[in-house]
Symmetry: C2
Subunit: 279 residues, 2 copies
């Protein structure tokens, strides 16, 4: 493990190297000198929380976040109770992995529904049930506003301002927000909202916004430098708001996924230094 001080706050979100198991991703981070990792529940489940936590700790890494809970918009009592139960499990897993940040993607409109205000209300209602449970376990629910193009099918939470309106109903240590460059870079109000967020910022994620968007728009997340985002102003704004945590690189991209993951980590570290840390 190199000890390049410029990488001291860099984290690999596991989805960026999705073919790697937890063990492979941990080993890859060690080889690349990346000190933190954002884990996903599915690969963690393959080996169990205690084994994953031990792998990370033995390698001297830290867990910057767990992805993800959420999907709180389904209609009907059965679906509601099931979503709450699953989110409580996710909170327990985050606690077991030693991270205080559970990322929530809140969910889109239920199939056939056009009731956007109703879906948003169900998110608020579910948060009220989950936030104290999370707080008691030292975990913070990190509301991730997703790009508005995902409003119908993935997240009815579309802006940082909207996420803060929700979060501010709860103590700061229970509910925070994610600032993900891909999702917020276009927002003319983002500077004001990052400043407003302050200590609510639970995670800072970076990747670039590509055009043309690929056929599956979920995979439009690119390596920094391959798209349209100017990263340093966003990084500086998050720092100015008081955020001192890791910067996670989270890329969903078919080409990145087809590349040798060790090369992805090398590129990611170089681009991070060149394009995110740059003044």
């Amino acid at each position: 493990m190199t000890a390049d001080p410029r990488l001291a706050k860099l984290s690999l979100n596991q989805r960026t190297t999705q073919r790697w198991s937890v063990r492979e991703a941990v080993d890859g981070c060690v080889r690349a000198g990346i000190p933190a990792i954002g884990l996903w529940r599915e690969p963690v489940a393959e080996i169990g929380v205690p084994a994953a936590a031990k792998l990370v700790a033995d390698a001297g890494l830290r867990v910057s976040s767990l992805c993800r809970g959420g999907f709180l918009t389904a209609d009907g009592e059965h679906a509601r109770l099931e979503a709450l139960a699953d989110n409580r499990r996710a909170i327990d897993e985050a606690a077991g992995l030693g991270t205080d940040c559970l990322v929530l993607v809140v969910g889109g409109l239920p199939p056939g529904s056009r009731d956007l205000p109703g879906a948003r209300q169900r998110v608020a209602d579910a948060l009220a049930e989950l936030a104290p449970y999370a707080g008691e376990r030292g975990v913070r629910l990190a509301l991730e506003p997703l790009h508005p193009m995902y409003c119908a099918d993935r997240a009815v939470l579309s802006t940082l301002g909207q996420a803060l309106d929700l979060a501010e109903a709860f103590p700061t240590e229970q509910v925070g927000v994610v600032v993900d460059t891909f999702h917020v870079w276009w927002d003319p109000d983002v500077w004001r909202q990052i400043a407003r967020a302050g200590a609510r910022i639970a995670s800072f994620q970076v990747c670039d916004f590509l055009t043309p968007l690929p056929a599956d728009v979920l995979l439009g997340r690119g390596m920094m430098g391959d798209g349209h985002i100017d990263f340093p102003p966003l990084r500086r704004a998050v720092e100015a708001a008081g955020y001192v945590g890791d910067t996670e690189v989270e890329i969903f991209n078919a080409e990145v996924w087809a590349t040798d993951p060790d090369r992805v980590l090398a590129t990611m570290a170089a681009r991070y230094v060149e394009l995110v840390l740059a003044d």
Copy 2:
């Protein structure tokens, strides 16, 4: 021409039937009992402004808008002057067609640029040059915020609030805004911004938001009822803000374009009554 009073404020945006010439679109509107049309500059140019104006007038229709000016973000003096000249021509064409509404799509980031604030500033600067020219000719520049997924390559103007921030620097009769359901439906702040817009609303356009988005995301605009948007609350909000103009149906969609245009108009009129006018 039927005289269904429910269609009294319905307008066909010409792009919805893009294979039709101006004459064909005018004739189609007459057959379908649609009293207004939103014209596009390219098909108008094929016959010239006076001939197009005469066709519309002779058919007893009105022109609800001209699409489109804008594309004001290019960098460099030559590109800037060319864009201003083209927009002055578009203003003259709108005046010649007897519409007071010229829709502006402001343009995206110049190729290779990541300077979003700079591009937005160039839009504001160009408006300052164009607004008085438009006002003198009885034409209003209608700023259209586009869905944030088009921020990089088509419009750095992404929300109604941002459009109003720009517009309010000018007299109401010189610069207004477009409310297009496809572009704004996801915005949690849209209700407040529509109320704020008031007399600035120069055009109300409807179409649905489809998922999955097609490979070319520009073509994700669907017939009302085929997607996720709940139209009546948006229509009522626009009416409550004082808008009394036409409702234009503007659909970019490969399947719609492949359909017999007369059938498209019949579907559009039926869906408008059922899904937009519904209480």
